[in-house]
Amino acid sequence: MSKQVPETIKKQSKRSFNSKEVKKEKNEKRMKLLKEIQTKAFKRAEKYEKEYLEQEQKLVELKQKALKEGSFYREPEPKLAFIIRIRGIVGVPPKPRKILQLLRLRRIYSGVFIRLNKSSLRMLHFIDPYVTWGYPDVETVRALIYKRGHARVNHQRKIIDSNEMIYDKLQKYDIVCMEDLVHEIFTVGKNFKHANSFLWAFKLKPPVGGFSTVKKSFVNKGEHGNREQYINTLVKKMI
């Protein structure tokens, strides 16, 4: 005896967004899109590799040139900083507390990227005793985003497990893949703000080998404050 299908189910299956054909079509579209994204990702990654290499070489060239001429080459001031909060929540005065909140450094060993300009430098000045910060290089930025990069999706913290995720959110800023994201952050491009806010604040581990003393500044053989390029080694220990 044939199975009796209820009328409501028959009607439901007829309706467009449930039918098999529509689902198939959607899936095909999606697959096509994914392929596009991956090809773009490949090409852009290639482009960026060249770009980073060129930048390095250029820097070296200019320095050598200056040396030859007997003058000095003043490197451009860093545009990007990575801040890590190294003190806990207890006993933080209101102003630094507010600034740490604004920078999304709400818990110990959380890290964020920040664009360096006069205003942000002044903010950093206030929170120096609670953070350590410096100028990350490409590999650090990459490692952070690849290994510990979580996206803010629907007010949720989700690990970035595909380029599709990035495409969906940042396509309008021409950021479609991981390397795009890394590039935007590292070179502090036009859409740095959007790329950065797409990323949830990084949750890092306490450093392997520990800190010397957080109470002192880095300059005084402690840990807090600006440590310029040494942030890279620290992040390696904390990632």
């Binding site: 990654a45 290994k147 999706v153 690990i159 497990d161």
Partner: protein, 402 residues
């Protein structure tokens, strides 16, 4: 309700002979009234209080002493104690609710509110609900009535029933129509009351059997009076306490034809008011169609809904992804260029290595050549000069060590 203009039809059965339809009557509108167990429960609990008799404790109970407290300093509690001596009672505590022979806490008074006023409309609502429930077989069954063998529910019977005078006739009728099983149940489960009611003239407890509702009493009352469990009632004065005993709806009712027809006049409908209850219309249900699932799935609703939002299952679940620096497949998914990059790095490394090797080899060769030639020169020089300079020797020594 416009949907109720087409009223279903109920069969009228004879009281003897063959169980077959002799007539068909339309179902009165009352039976489509909303069935509201909450209203029935409320009205029933309040109505049931109305046949209570006042009771109280004697006003003087426990107060018929002239007891006074002894006060402090006598190594006894400060409760009032009975005065005097010469009897066991003297010095005993009195007056308190905790005392033996004392008055109770808050002695019961006769002026307690025994009866309850209920809004007339609420009462009528409850009765309508209860009547409607008597036509719903599952409700009648769940109340406990044995209605399996009945030809139909609601059970309507010819008016000849009203003229029955003998109990024997009544029993015969009940057996004929299939209602006697319910009466048998009542007889079978007659028990002595549990509790003190048994010696307060309420010795036995009976279940409720069928209720016979008539329009005119031409002997029917007396005919059914002695049958255990069976109650009779005039259709003009239907009592909620009988229609929904224990506030449980679904009494098994046997209607006479004229009583059944009168229901339409007594309770009215949604269009026509009742003829007997002034200004009373049947209560309206909150929802006309209570099949919510069917409403939601109907075409009229579904075609107007927007499309379901796509569930982003692709990254909806909490996905544990491997570390891309440890798992190559994850890395390649995120950065398809990675493998090529590694390859190029490797090639570059090898190229550099090769170049370096060439340079090192070349310089080494040059140095060795220079050494070789310098040795030859020295030999020539030695031949020319009788003495070799110390410096040259030193150099030679050094080069040997190298």
């Amino acid at each position: 309700m416009t949907t109720q203009q087409l009223r279903p039809i109920v069969s009228v059965f004879p009281i003897k002979g063959k169980v077959k339809t002799i007539k068909q009557v339309p179902l009165p509108s009352v039976f489509s009234a909303p069935i509201r167990p909450d209203v029935v429960r409320f009205v029933h609990t309040n109505m049931a209080k109305n046949n209570r008799q006042a009771h109280a404790v004697s006003t003087t109970a426990g107060e018929q002493t002239s007891a006074t407290s002894w006060g402090t300093g006598r190594a006894v509690a400060r409760i009032p104690r009975v005065k005097g001596s010469g009897t066991g009672r003297s010095g005993q505590a009195a007056f308190g609710n905790m005392c033996r022979g004392g008055r109770m806490y808050a002695p019961k008074k006769v002026w307690r509110k025994w009866h309850r006023k209920i809004n007339t409309n609420q009462k009528r609502y409850a009765v309508c609900s209860a009547i409607a429930a008597t036509a719903v077989t599952p409700l009648v069954m769940s109340r406990g009535h044995r209605v399996n063998k009945l030809p139909e529910l609601p059970l309507v019977v010819s008016d000849q029933l009203q003229s029955l005078t003998k109990t024997r006739q009544a029993v015969k009728f009940l057996k004929f129509i299939g209602a006697y099983r319910d009466v048998e149940k009542v007889i079978r489960t007659k028990k002595t009351r549990v509790g003190q009611g048994k010696y307060r003239n309420r010795r036995h407890v009976l279940r409720k059997g069928p209720m016979v509702v008539y329009a005119r009493n031409l002997g029917i009352k007396k005919a059914f009076r002695n049958i255990p469990g069976v109650e009779t009632a005039s259709v003009y004065t239907l009592n909620l306490l009988k229609l929904a005993p224990g506030s449980q709806m679904g009494r098994f009712i046997i209607w006479t034809e004229s009583a059944f027809k009168l229901l339409e006049d007594i309770y009215g409908s949604w269009e026509k008011p009742s003829k007997f209850k002034s200004g009373f219309y049947l209560p309206r249900p909150v929802m006309v169609n209570t099949d919510v699932e069917r409403i939601i799935k109907s075409d009229q609703v579904q075609t107007v809904l927007r499309n379901r939002r796509p569930r982003s299952r692709k990254y909806g679940k909490k996905i544990q992804r491997a570390d891309p620096y440890e798992d190559m497949s994850v890395m390649v998914k995120l950065n398809p260029y990675y493998k090529t990059k590694l390859q190029k790095q490797k090639e570059l490394e090898e190229k550099n290595k090769k170049e370096r090797k060439e340079i090192v080899d070349k310089s080494r060769k040059e140095y060795e050549d220079w050494l070789y030639f310098s040795e030859e020169e020295e030999e020539e020089e030695e031949e020319e000069e009788e003495e070799g300079s110390d410096e040259d020797r030193e150099i030679e020594v050094l080069s040997d060590e190298n």
